[in-house]
C-alpha cells in the first residue's frame, strides 16, 4: 500500500490546500473520496441517546408482547395422543407386529372441547420422533418428475424407492412420498358427523407450480415394502393435497401437518367422537402420534413463547434504561471533560 499523501502535514489545522505549486507538480487531483474527507455523521453515544434507546425498545416491545400473548391465548387447542391407546391391550407388547398385520385398525377416541371454538377449526396430525429433516430423507425426491409427465424416469435421487420391480418408474418416487401418512379421522358429535374439508390445505404455489396437473401416480408403493398410504391413480398430483402437505419436509422431529378444516363452531364442553384408522407404523421407531384440533388467531397457533420473549426483552430494556438513568444521576461524567484523558488520569490508565 502506498500513501501518496500530497496534502501538507505540518501538525496543523485545515486540509491539504496549501499554495499554488511552483514547479510541474505531480500532486494527484484532490478529491474528497481519496483524501478520506467525505462528509460524515459521527453519532456519539450520549446518556440521552442511551436512555432513550432503551426506553424506546421497552415502549415498543411490551405492547407487542402483550398483543402476541393475547393472540396466542385466544387460540383454543385440543391435543389427543393415541398411538398407544389405539392398540388393543393384548397386542401392546408387540405393537410392530400388530401394525403390520391385517387386523382391524379402527379406533374410537373422544375429545372434549375446553372452550368455544369458532370455525374454521384446523385438524392436524402431530408426529413425534419422526425425522423428516434427515439429510438422506430430504434429498430422496424428484421435483422434475412431480412437475411433468415427460420426466417420469428422472428418478436417480430417489433410490431405493425409484423403480418398481420390473414395472418401470415409481411416480412419485423417493422416500418422502413413500412414507406418506395414512391414518384417517372422521369426526362426529352426538351421532351427527362433522365434515372435514380437505381442500385448500396445501400451498397454492405447490398446486400450481410444483406438482403437475397431468402427472398421475404410477407403481406407487410398488417397490417391495409398503411405507405408508397408497394413492388414487386417477387423481393428478396437483389435486393430491395430502401428498403435497406431506412433501413439505418439516424442520423439527416433532411436527404437525394440516389434515383438514372443520367449518362449524364447536361449543364448550362438547364431546367429539373420533373414529380413526390407525394404519401408520410409528412403532418401529417409538414415534408418537397425536391428533390436534386448533383454532388460529392473527399470530397462528398457540405458542406463548413469542409474547413472553417480547415481554422479557422489553422488561430487560426497561430495567437497563432505569439502571442507566440512576447511574447517570449518581455518578455523572461531564461529557468532553478532559480530566478523563489518560494523561490526566495518572499512570496505569489508557
Amino acid at each position: 500500500m502506498s500513501s501518496h499523501t500530497a496534502s501538507s502535514s505540518n501538525g496543523g489545522n485545515g486540509s491539504g490546500d496549501s499554495g499554488v505549486p511552483k514547479r510541474n507538480s505531480k500532486r494527484p487531483k484532490y478529491s474528497k473520496f481519496t483524501q478520506q474527507e467525505l462528509p460524515a455523521c459521527k453519532p456519539i453515544l450520549t446518556p440521552r441517546w442511551v436512555v432513550s434507546t432503551f426506553m424506546l425498545i421497552a415502549i415498543v416491545f411490551i405492547p407487542i408482547g402483550i398483543a402476541c400473548l393475547i393472540g396466542s391465548r385466544d387460540v383454543v387447542e385440543v391435543v389427543e395422543r393415541y398411538e398407544t391407546e389405539c392398540i388393543p391391550v393384548l397386542n401392546r407388547t408387540n405393537t410392530v407386529q400388530f401394525i403390520q398385520s391385517d387386523a382391524d385398525k379402527t379406533c374410537n377416541i373422544s375429545m372434549t372441547i375446553p372452550k368455544r371454538m369458532k370455525q374454521p377449526i384446523y385438524v392436524y396430525y402431530q408426529l413425534d420422533n419422526f425425522y423428516q429433516n434427515h439429510r438422506r430423507y430430504v434429498k430422496s425426491r424428484s421435483d422434475e418428475q412431480l412437475k411433468s409427465a415427460s420426466k417420469e424416469n428422472d428418478t436417480s435421487a430417489c433410490k431405493p424407492e425409484d423403480i418398481a420391480n420390473g414395472r418401470g418408474a415409481i411416480v412419485p418416487c423417493g422416500l418422502i412420498a413413500w412414507s406418506l401418512f395414512n391414518d384417517t379421522y372422521s369426526f362426529s358429535r352426538q351421532n351427527q358427523s362433522l365434515t372435514v374439508n380437505k381442500k385448500g390445505i396445501a400451498w397454492k404455489s405447490d398446486k400450481q407450480k410444483r406438482f403437475g396437473k397431468n402427472v398421475f401416480p404410477k407403481n406407487f408403493q410398488g417397490g417391495g415394502l409398503v411405507g405408508g398410504a397408497t394413492l388414487n391413480e386417477s387423481i393428478p398430483l396437483n389435486e393430491q393435497e395430502d401428498l403435497m402437505v406431506w412433501m413439505r419436509t418439516a424442520a423439527l422431529p416433532t411436527f404437525r401437518k394440516l389434515y383438514g378444516k372443520i367449518e362449524v363452531d364447536l361449543e364448550e364442553k362438547e364431546v367429539i367422537n373420533v373414529t380413526l384408522m390407525n394404519y401408520y407404523n410409528t412403532y418401529s421407531f417409538n414415534g408418537k402420534k397425536k391428533l390436534v384440533l386448533s383454532t388460529t388467531s392473527w399470530i397462528g397457533g398457540r405458542n406463548d413463547f413469542l409474547g413472553i420473549a417480547y415481554l422479557t426483552v422489553g422488561m430487560i430494556s426497561f430495567a437497563l434504561s432505569m439502571g442507566f438513568t440512576i447511574v447517570y444521576f449518581v455518578k455523572p461524567r461531564r461529557l468532553g471533560d478532559p480530566t478523563f484523558l489518560s494523561w490526566n488520569r495518572g499512570p496505569g490508565s489508557h
Binding site: 500500500m1 499523501t5 489545522n13 425425522y131 419436509t249 461524567r333 484523558l341 494523561w343 490526566n344
Partner: protein, 391 residues
C-alpha cells in the same frame, strides 16, 4: 561488542551512525530489532537503504531524487520525508483500529452464522442436513455481509485527521495494543456465540410445531430456514452499524443495502421456477411475507442480539471512556472552540517531550522564560501561538 553498543544506544535519545555501508545499516537494524524485541521502522530514499528497509519490521521508502529502488523494496512509500508523520500518526492509527475491528467482526459474524448450522444438527439426528438453502449460505459471505465490513475497513475514522495530528498520544493506542488484545477478541467471539444461540433458540421455540399463519399452515424447513437467515442478516448488519463511528453515505448504502439485498434476493429467488428454487419458491411472497410472526421474529431477534453489546458500550463510555471517546465528545460539543485554552493545553500534553540531552535543557530554559513572561503580563491576552517546542 555489539551488545555493549546496543545497551548504550537504547538509553540515548537518538544515535547517529555515519559512514556506514548498506550492509552495516541492515545489521544495526537487525541488532536493534532482535535485541530490544520492539517493532522497528526504517525509512530511506536510496539504493543503499534497501537492506535496512527490508530488515526492519516496517520499511518506508521515499521516492524522489535518488530513484525508485527504496520504493520498490519497501512496505510503504511516500514522496517526502515529512509525510512520515502523517503516515504514522494518521494512517497508522486509523489502520490499526480498522484492521482490529474488521478481524473481530469477521470472526463474530461467521461464528454467529456457522454455529446455528451446528445446533440444527442436533435436531436432524446428526445427518448433516443444513437448515438453510445452499444459495443463502453461498451468498452470506460474498454479498450479504461482506460490503459493510469492507466499508468499515476502508472508511472508519475514530477521530479526524487534524485531531490525530494534534494529539499524537492517540497513536499510543496501537503500540499498547488496546484494540486487539485477547480480551477483545474473546469478547467478540463470545458475542458471536451468544448471537448464534439467541437466533437459533428463539427461532426454534417460536416456530415450534404450531401453525404460523392465520390460515392454519405449519412451517416447513424452508420457512424456518429463511426466517432464521433473515434474522442473522439483520442482526449482524445492525451490529456493524453499532460498531461504526463514522458514517458516510457509503456506509449507509452498504449496511442498509445489504439487508435490502437479502430481501430482494429472497423475492427474486422465489420467483425462479422450482427447478432452481426448490422449496424456496415464492416463499417470501406467499408464506412468510404475509405472516406477522415472521416480521415480529426478526425484530425480536435483532434487538435481543444487539442489546448486550449496546449495554456494554454504553457502560464503557460512561465509566471507562477511552481517549478517543473524550476527544470525540469535545469535538461534538464544540468545546474545542469554546474553551481554546483547554484545547491547547491538552494538545501540548499529548506530545511527549524529550527528557534528556541538550534539547531537554533548551526546553526547560524556554519554559522558565515563558513562565516569567506570563507572570509579568498576566492581565494581557496572549497571542495565539503554539507552545510546542519542536516540529
Amino acid at each position: 561488542m555489539k551488545h555493549q553498543l546496543l545497551a548504550l544506544a537504547v538509553v540515548c535519545a537518538s544515535v547517529i551512525c555515519c559512514r556506514v555501508s548498506p550492509k552495516q545499516k541492515a545489521l544495526v537494524t537487525r541488532l536493534v530489532k532482535e535485541g530490544t524485541g520492539k517493532t522497528t521502522l526504517a525509512i530511506g530514499d536510496g539504493a543503499n537503504d534497501v537492506g535496512m528497509i527490508q530488515e526492519a519490521d516496517i520499511g518506508v521508502g521515499i521516492s524522489g531524487v535518488e530513484g525508485m529502488q527504496a520504493v520498490m523494496a519497501s512496505d510503504f512509500s511516500i514522496s517526502q520525508f515529512r509525510f512520515l508523520e502523517r503516515l504514522l500518526v494518521v494512517h497508522g492509527h486509523w489502520c490499526y483500529k480498522r484492521i482490529a475491528q474488521m478481524i473481530c467482526y469477521f470472526f463474530y459474524k461467521n461464528i454467529a452464522f456457522g454455529l446455528t448450522l451446528f445446533y440444527f444438527e442436533a435436531f436432524t439426528a446428526f445427518s448433516g442436513q443444513s437448515v438453510y438453502n445452499d444459495w443463502y449460505m453461498l451468498l452470506f459471505n460474498v454479498i450479504l455481509t461482506s460490503l459493510p465490513v469492507i466499508s468499515l475497513g476502508v472508511f472508519e475514522q475514530d477521530v479526524s485527521s487534524e485531531v490525530c495530528l494534534q494529539f499524537p498520544a492517540l497513536y499510543q493506542q496501537g503500540p499498547k495494543n488496546l484494540f486487539f488484545d485477547w480480551y477483545r477478541i474473546l469478547g467478540w467471539m463470545g458475542n458471536g456465540l451468544y448471537t448464534s444461540l439467541v437466533i437459533f433458540i428463539l427461532n426454534i421455540m417460536i416456530f415450534y410445531n404450531q401453525a404460523f399463519r392465520a390460515e392454519g399452515q405449519t412451517a416447513d424447513m424452508a420457512a424456518m430456514g429463511a426466517t432464521m437467515f433473515s434474522c442473522i442478516i439483520t442482526a449482524v448488519n445492525c451490529q456493524i452499524a453499532l460498531t461504526m463511528s463514522h458514517f458516510t453515505w457509503i456506509q449507509h448504502l452498504f449496511v442498509w443495502g445489504s439487508v435490502t439485498t437479502w430481501y430482494l434476493f429472497l423475492l427474486l429467488f422465489g420467483m425462479l421456477p422450482p427447478y432452481y428454487s426448490e422449496d424456496a419458491h415464492k416463499i417470501l411472497v406467499e408464506a412468510l411475507g404475509p405472516a406477522p410472526i415472521y416480521w415480529c421474529t426478526i425484530l425480536l431477534v435483532t434487538v435481543a442480539c444487539n442489546l448486550p453489546y449496546l449495554a456494554h458500550i454504553s457502560f464503557q463510555r460512561c465509566f471507562n471512556p477511552m481517549d478517543h471517546h473524550i476527544i470525540q465528545e469535545i469535538k461534538y460539543y464544540k468545546k474545542d472552540v469554546e474553551d481554546q485554552h483547554m484545547w491547547r493545553r491538552e494538545r501540548s500534553k499529548a506530545r511527549q517531550e524529550t527528557k534528556i540531552g541538550f534539547t531537554a535543557r533548551v526546553d526547560a530554559k524556554i519554559r522558565q522564560l515563558k513562565g516569567k513572561l506570563q507572570r509579568r503580563s498576566s492581565t494581557l491576552i496572549l497571542p495565539n501561538c503554539m507552545p510546542s517546542p519542536c516540529q
